[in-house]
């Protein structure tokens, strides 16, 4: 087994042991969030047509993935910086990205039950059949990874207290002003233009297409944009991880 894999495995185990008492609560929160997104947001729309239902149903897993990656991850990493855990881990002989990889993959695993439940509940609530294609796993992994690596990068670059505020700001933006649960054409022009650059709408497109085959936008473009943001997140995390005082 390579040093990198062994290090990653042990750091992941450390993370699991550290969080084991909180995992049930974290999973319950994710499940509640998933249910809330499917049922709660539907109350805003008195007459749900098939297109709105499609967006609500497939937006739920995207939202749970994103909120975890872009809010929980930076908050957790900021806490690690404040407590000294981050600096201590950096003195161990492990590849620089093994720690971030362990942290990010832990949060990905935690949100899996919520994501699945969101899908099942949405399919039942809006009475439509999911038709996942072969790209569903890579699409979900990419979306989750992109959110979590960007969240990690924010926490690494910003001061801990600032990172937590940025995370709160982002969660409001994701919940209320992002075309995840509704089509981008409902947004005013300037917000739509911003979302042509940000990865959020492309993430929603990817998950929607991989689950239903329905594509609002060019799927290849969506993959490319999300991949580029993910690479940027990893590059920034790497740059900060190898930086020395």
């Amino acid at each position: 087994m390579s040093v990198a894999l062994r290090s990653y495995g042990l750091l992941f185990r450390w993370q699991l042991l550290r969080m084991r008492r909180q995992i049930p609560l974290l999973v319950v929160i994710q499940l509640a969030l998933a249910l809330g997104v499917v049922y709660g947001l539907a109350f805003l729309l008195p007459n749900i047509d098939s297109r709105s239902a499609l967006f609500l149903a497939t937006g739920a897993p995207t939202l749970t993935l994103l909120l975890l990656g872009l809010t929980a991850v930076p908050q957790e990493v900021s806490q690690a910086k404040l407590s000294g855990r981050q600096a201590y881990l950096e003195t161990f002989p492990v590849p620089r990205l093994a720690g971030p990889a362990a942290e990010v993959s832990f949060w990905l695993v935690v949100q899996l039950p919520g994501t699945f439940l969101a899908l099942l509940v949405a399919a039942a609530r809006f009475d439509f059949a999911l038709r996942p294609n072969a790209a569903v796993v890579p699409a979900f992994v990419l979306v989750a990874l992109c959110g979590a690596t960007l969240g990690y990068a924010i926490a690494m670059v910003a001061r801990p207290e600032t990172a937590q505020q940025i995370a709160s700001f982002i969660s409001i933006g994701i919940l209320l002003f992002s075309p995840i649960n509704f089509p981008i054409d409902r947004l005013p022009g300037f917000l739509a233009a911003i979302h042509r650059v940000l990865p959020i709408t492309y993430m929603a497109d990817l998950t929607r297409w991989s689950l239903t085959g329905h594509a609002e936008e060019n799927v290849a473009l969506a993959f490319a944009v999300v991949l580029a943001w993910c690479a940027a997140g990893i590059a920034i995390s790497w740059r900060v991880a190898v930086r020395r005082g």
Partner: protein, 304 residues
């Protein structure tokens, strides 16, 4: 030398010169003490040894490898107990020790055996498998075990005895000695001069980022050769009596008065101090050879 530091200077971006032309060397099997007050540059020096900080100038090698250029070599070579408490929340002490050892490359069986040995040696059995908040002293001992379970070729211990009770402190010093006897170089950062004197083979005293003195404890005390140390503990409420001419320097801290004198004045000093005790000015007194603490105090006074 296993660790060789030459003319190392570290200036932070805000202009603080934390280390100034520091040179020292530590060999395998040696416990090397790094003494100095707060702000002396000890932690900055340690940061550079661990590869976390980049020197502004000078060289730093471990086993001949330039670790400024290859910080990963430093991380592999050094196991480290930080000055702050190690955050191991959510893990039992045994789990924390074992996982640290495994990350440092130890196999499961060796780590389990060594971890159990350290827990027993430091009498930590009652906490070893419990998920409870640890007291400061126990947490520091667990942090020590995490550095010692699979020791690096250099073991860096930053204030390992802080908050540790006297009995376990004694056990800890024995384990520090055992690490060196096992072939590691131990770099020991401490404020505790008296304890360090008993444990270290050689030491350096740092002040304002510079090495003020270095060598064995005995060699550092040579300039004070022939000097004796008189310590008085005043009775509560008593004031310091006028000190006799043979007491060359003295300092007062609370009820404790420490002075130095040449050996030839010992009998006069005993007679004087005995008289003070009979008059109930002094509760107790002692006379002994100069200690490393005297050297430390003298170096700090001269540096100022």
């Amino acid at each position: 030398m296993l660790l060789q530091i030459d003319h190392l200077t570290k200036i932070y971006r805000n202009g603080t010169r934390a280390n100034d032309d520091v040179s020292l060397a530590v060999d395998a099997g040696e416990v090397f003490g790094l003494l100095g007050p707060n702000g002396a540059g000890k932690t900055t020096l340690v940061g550079q040894v661990l590869g976390s900080l980049v020197p502004s100038s000078g060289t730093l090698t471990i086993e001949g490898v330039d670790v400024v250029a290859r910080p990963s070599y430093a991380r592999a070579a050094c196991s480290y107990q930080p000055q702050t408490s190690v955050p191991i929340d959510g893990l039992t002490p045994r789990e924390a020790i074992e996982i640290a050892g495994r990350i440092r490359g130890g196999d499961r069986e060796t780590v389990r055996r060594r971890g159990a040995g350290l827990i027993e040696a430091l009498d930590l059995g009652e906490w070893a498998s419990k998920l409870v908040p640890l007291s400061g002293g126990v947490a520091r001992l667990v942090a020590f075990c995490m550095a010692a379970v699979v020791p690096g070729r250099i073991v860096v211990l930053d204030e390992p005895t802080n908050d540790v009770d006297p009995l376990r402190r004694k056990l800890l010093w024995e384990l520090v000695r055992a690490l060196a006897d096992g072939g590691s170089a131990v770099l020991l950062v401490t404020h505790n001069v008296l304890e360090a004197e008993r444990c270290v083979d050689r030491l350096a005293i740092l002040g304002s980022g510079r090495v003020l003195a270095s060598g064995t404890a005995a060699s550092l005390k040579t300039p004070l050769g022939g000097m004796l140390r008189l310590q008085l503990v005043l009775e509560p409420g008593a004031s310091m009596p006028e000190h006799p001419t043979f007491l060359r320097q003295h300092s007062v801290a609370g009820r404790r008065v420490v002075g130095e004198m040449v050996a030839g004045d010992a009998s006069s000093a005993i007679a004087w101090a005995t008289g003070l005790r009979e008059r109930r000015v002094v509760e107790e007194f002692s006379i002994g050879p100069a200690t490393l603490e005297d050297v430390y105090v003298k170096e700090m006074a001269e540096a100022r």
